[in-house]
């Protein structure tokens, strides 16, 4: 559909170059087509949402064995991380490849607080989240001074530094020996443990999705998206970009850190090389890009696809590095063929099978005539036009909108 509209739009543009002023207004959108479309897609989304939520909630009972259940937990964890990443990457377009830093900090923060302060697991989890926020503020201030590729490099540097610190500070973190985190529910058997954490991750994911959704439709969200489109332009319109980017960055770190903390309590054994790996950070990016960073459920969908694929490759090929090759190939395919991710690609596919109702229409001969008449009038009165009073010009503007009354066109 977008292709169609683009074609029409550019056709309109070349036409206006040929015919001069008469056709400057030819790219006309029938205003209620998008509205109808939105209502339709809202109904579909709602239905999908209900089905999806029901599937997630019943999964622990459908899962044939604890192994599959634990794979479900892993995928939900990825979904949380990737959705967390999308608070920054999706809204502002700042691609952090080092977001595993906050996954690791949340996990180690939780583990270390449990170990040294001997607090209950979930209290440690909340405190660790606060630590993550406290760290992400100065790091964000420093990192967000640069854009584009430089920001990517800075984010990678940050996670590599943390990896080194956590590996070498053996007395405190346990180094590469790992850190054992006691289970928060010691009485639960393994399958029940998985089940409990499946719902905890699902709850965290739901909270993150709601937060993303609220921002997405707020004025704050509009401002963040304008940063993604053209940061300098956004600033020139008064958007306090530095502050807004930082807020998005800290929120993103918080959600990712909460995901890490929950992971620590679930898995119970932390290793710096995994917690602070660039690979985990890359997965977050890959999943979000695959599903679609502009969409609420993009990262979740990406996590589902990549997560299932990874589990499958591990099962099939064991401890080989084959899953890395597959992930790399997938990334290539996404970037080349679905730059906006799966969700928009599927949307376009569906549009193709729906009855034609393009939102950008061609101009009928009668309207052309009308427009020519009007532009003739304005051409002969070019001198007057300059002197035209405010009243006259607003009347003129409303004329244009009357002419493009959608009801006349679409019926």
């Amino acid at each position: 559909m977008r292709n169609d509209s683009e074609r029409t739009a550019s056709a309109g543009r070349t036409a206006s170059a040929d015919l001069g002023p008469a056709l400057t207004e030819t790219v006309v959108v029938a205003p209620d087509a998008p509205r109808r479309r939105r209502r339709w897609s809202r109904a579909v989304s709602l239905a999908l949402l209900v089905v999806g939520a029901a599937l997630v909630l019943s999964f622990p009972f459908i899962a044939p064995n604890p192994y599959i259940l634990s794979a479900g937990v892993v995928i939900l964890n990825y979904a949380v991380l990737s959705t967390g990443w999308n608070f920054m990457g999706g809204f502002t377009g700042y691609i952090s490849l080092g977001h595993a830093a906050y996954f690791g900090l949340g996990a180690y923060g939780t583990g270390l607080i449990v170990k040294y302060l001997e607090l209950p697991g979930f209290v440690a989890w909340v405190l660790a989240a606060l630590v993550v926020v406290a760290i992400s503020v100065p790091v964000g201030i420093a990192a967000l001074r640069v854009r584009g590729a430089s920001f990517v490099i800075v984010s990678i540097a940050f996670v590599l530094i943390l990896l080194l610190v956590f590996q070498s500070w053996r007395e405190f973190t346990g180094g590469s020996e790992g850190l054992i985190v006691p289970r928060p529910f010691p009485d639960l058997l393994r399958p029940e443990h998985h089940r409990a954490f499946f719902y905890l991750f699902a709850g965290l994911l739901a909270a993150a999705l709601v937060a993303w959704w609220v921002i997405d439709r707020s004025k704050f969200g509009t401002a963040l998206k304008s940063i993604r489109e053209d940061e300098d332009k956004a600033r020139s319109l008064g958007v306090p970009t530095t502050r807004y980017k930082l807020i998005a960055y800290v929120l993103s770190a918080l959600v990712t850190g909460l995901g890490g903390g929950l992971y620590a309590l679930w898995f119970g054994d932390l290793d710096p090389i995994f917690q602070f790996s660039i690979l985990i950070g890359s997965y977050m990016v890959l999943m979000a890009l695959l599903g679609g960073v502009r969409h609420l459920f993009g990262p979740l969908l990406g996590a589902l696809i990549v997560g299932i694929a990874l589990e499958y490759f591990k099962l099939e090929f064991g401890d080989t590095q084959f899953h890395l090759v597959a992930a790399g190939l997938l990334l290539g395919v996404v970037v080349l063929f679905m730059p906006d991710g799966v969700i928009p690609a599927v949307g376009q596919l569906i549009d193709r099978f729906r009855p034609q109702q393009t939102s950008i229409r061609d101009v009928s001969a009668a309207e052309l005539l009308e427009q020519n008449r009007r532009s003739d009038a304005s051409a002969t009165g070019a001198a007057d036009a300059r002197e035209a009073s405010g009243e006259a010009s607003t009347r003129d503007a409303s004329d244009v909108s009357d002419a493009s009354d959608p009801k006349e066109v679409t019926r």
Binding site: K225, S236, A382, R386, A397
Partner: protein, 242 residues
């Protein structure tokens, strides 16, 4: 005095784009800023609006020093601007483009829904004023260049600026549209907005501006009423390169 610069200077490597420029623009008027290509008009705009840092000199807006202000702060102080190569948010709709502007940010406005009917009505008002209200739902990148220019103008107006700086509003625009833009500028000026306009279209400058400053090689060489400027020998020399 609306906007005042003192000894404003900016060089790029060996090129001094703005060279100790001391300029004043009058409040409530339509001010023109003209000069040959490369005379530093756009760079001057960028320095004033905080888009780039001047090497030296100062900028004051309505008596307050804004030299060190970042561009978003300048905008919130009440100076809106357009760009020479018109800039819109290509993958946002026309309506969303307008909802970006922020004059008074607060936590409440931040979390307010972008669907806020009051804001939308205000946006529609400006879309009607520039004459593209029928494109409300179109993606900005699907608009023609002229329409994008109108959209950029509406976006600037949405920020409720007191002073509006336009960098070549008539550039790349067909004659009928130039007339519409000129009319709009005059109306808005009557409603109390100050304008500073960079423009090569002399007809537009002469008919629209109350006060004109002429730049050559980064500094003002003449200023005054348009009719006087037209006869100034220094101006003719700068333009003809004698």
């Amino acid at each position: 005095m609306n906007l005042e610069t003192v000894e404003l200077t900016k060089s790029f490597g060996g090129v001094t784009a703005v060279d100790h420029a001391t300029v004043r623009f009058v409040d409530g008027k339509v001010n023109g800023l003209i000069g040959p290509n490369g005379s530093g008009k756009t760079t001057f705009f960028n320095c004033v609006t905080g888009m780039i840092k001047p090497d030296s000199g100062s900028v004051a807006y309505r008596g307050k020093d804004i030299t060190k202000h970042a561009s978003d702060r300048v905008a919130r102080a009440g100076i809106g601007r357009s760009f020479q190569l018109c800039r819109v948010f290509p993958r946002m709709t026309v309506m969303e483009n307008l909802l970006v502007a922020v004059r008074h940010p607060s936590v409440r406005t931040l979390l307010r829904s972008a669907d806020d009917e009051h804001e939308r009505e205000r946006a529609r008002h400006w879309l009607r004023r520039v004459g593209i209200d029928h494109l409300e739902h179109a993606e900005a990148r699907n608009l023609s260049y002229g329409q994008q220019k109108l959209l950029e103008l509406a976006g600037v107006l949405m920020g409720d600026p007191d002073t509006i700086m336009l960098d070549e509003p008539a550039g790349g625009v067909n004659p009928a549209l130039i007339g519409r833009i000129a009319t709009l500028v005059r109306e808005l000026n009557e409603e109390g907005k100050t304008f500073i306009i960079v423009e090569h279209n002399m007809e537009m400058v002469m008919s629209l501006c109350d006060h004109v400053v002429v730049f050559d090689r980064g500094r003002p060489i003449a200023e005054g009423e348009p009719s006087m400027i037209q006869q100034d020998p220094r101006v003719l020399e700068a333009y003809l390169g004698v």
